[in-house]
Symmetry: C2
Subunit: 224 residues, 2 copies
DNA sequence: CCAAAAGTGTTAGTGATACACCCATGT
DNA sequence: ACATGGGTGTATCACTAACACTTTTGG
């Protein structure tokens, strides 16, 4: 079981972990995937999902694997963040972590909270409990990277369902950036960047004009 | 001697290195500090200066130490870049490197090329030989980060002498960005950002009007 | 007085922001 | 017919880019 390695680390060598800062939007809030630690150190505290990289494993593979173990989701875009490697950041030994940023559409996830697995939960980003290790700092970096990417790339594709209305997309932007956007300017910009394509279907729901559905032209992560 | 550790690495553990992509301007060219490897692997090839992190050493300390060993310079600003950790990037074992970006004024450096030390040289960035490891990729990342920072921060302070003319500063920008800039726009922008302060002295040299000298207001690295 | 680099403002264009009304539907 | 969210264009402002001549010195 994967935590075995964690009980006793040698003091004379480096260990490498990956952590994933996975954001989603749920209940109109920006949320972050956290797991509750079942073992020391920081037993009982919340932490980013992640774990030790295997000696013959690529970093991205390792995050992908950890993430799949926690969420059942694979194949999502992962963006490398600067390493955290201060002496003392892990009381067990010298552990360097490579954090990754990811976005995910919460509809596509079933969190595993069965049996022995650590309890995984979506936590509102602005109401985080005290976290294990230096994970709060990692999250700060991840969030500002996320906002940065959101304005420069099509990363939003990862957080949206396959088909969505422009209002839904704008709401996602607003939730992530934590500020209101102008509807006409938002749509004009989308047109100029031609990031999304109009579908023929509409979404009929509620007592009002049906909304046109759109999809991203490409889910490949790319700049504007 | 520092290479001792490198001869035989264990295959079942991680090793951590830091590498420094140190840029300077010399002979009107953007140059990069490279060392020639005296030992395998990649014996005889050029590589970024760097080395193994000690188990109780902070990453930044480690780069600082390596850099001081190579160049005699300390206390310069170092910016962390994304880690490189692919399996197989070092034939000796699983070595993860944290690269750092730095700029330095070549006037302040005396390269050590004495005795046992590896030969350190300034190499023009656009005419690099084939490099060891994945260092060419690291350099590509470092260079684009450098250009990015140059337009958003006062990082240029690190590459300039204490006192300089605005033409010299503009030339440095042009060399790094590899494109011409407009003199009046450049100066207007400097004024708006108030990044530099005017000194009372002038630089009298050559058969033309003397140029006013300037210095950076702060060498602290900060955004605009 | 000529050569050489220093120094200095204005205009046009482009992108960002602010803003208000009509439309299609369900009840 | 009214309530609800969907959908659309224009005017202003701010920032960026383009551009040419005068100044001061040494030779």
């Amino acid at each position: 079981m994967k935590d075995t390695i964690m009980f006793q680390l040698r003091k004379d060598q480096f260990y490498l972990t990956v952590d994933a800062a996975v954001f989603t939007i749920l209940d109109k809030q920006l949320k972050l995937l956290l797991i509750r630690r079942k073992y020391p150190p920081f037993e009982g505290r919340y932490a980013l999902p992640g774990g030790f990289v295997r000696i013959d494993e690529f970093l991205k593979q390792a995050v992908g694997r950890e993430l799949e173990e926690e969420t059942g989701v694979k194949g999502i875009f992962l963006q490398k963040l600067p390493a955290f490697g201060d002496v003392g950041r892990d009381p067990r030994g010298r552990v360097i972590t490579i954090p990754y940023l990811a976005l995910i559409n919460s509809e596509e996830v079933r969190l595993h909270s069965t049996g022995d697995a650590e309890l995984a939960r979506w936590q509102p980003v602005y109401e985080l409990p005290e976290l294990a290790f230096d994970h709060q700092r990692i999250i700060d970096v991840a969030l500002s990277k996320l906002r940065d990417e959101l304005e420069r790339t099509n990363i939003a594709a990862d957080i949206m369902p396959a088909r969505f209305t422009l209002t839904e997309l704008q709401t996602a932007y607003e939730i992530i950036l934590d500020r209101k956007l102008d509807k006409r300017n938002f749509r004009k910009r989308l047109r100029e960047l031609s990031m999304v394509k109009e579908l023929s279907e509409t979404k009929m729901e509620g007592a009002h004009r049906p909304a046109r559905l759109y999809s991203f032209r490409s889910k490949d992560h790319k700049g504007i």
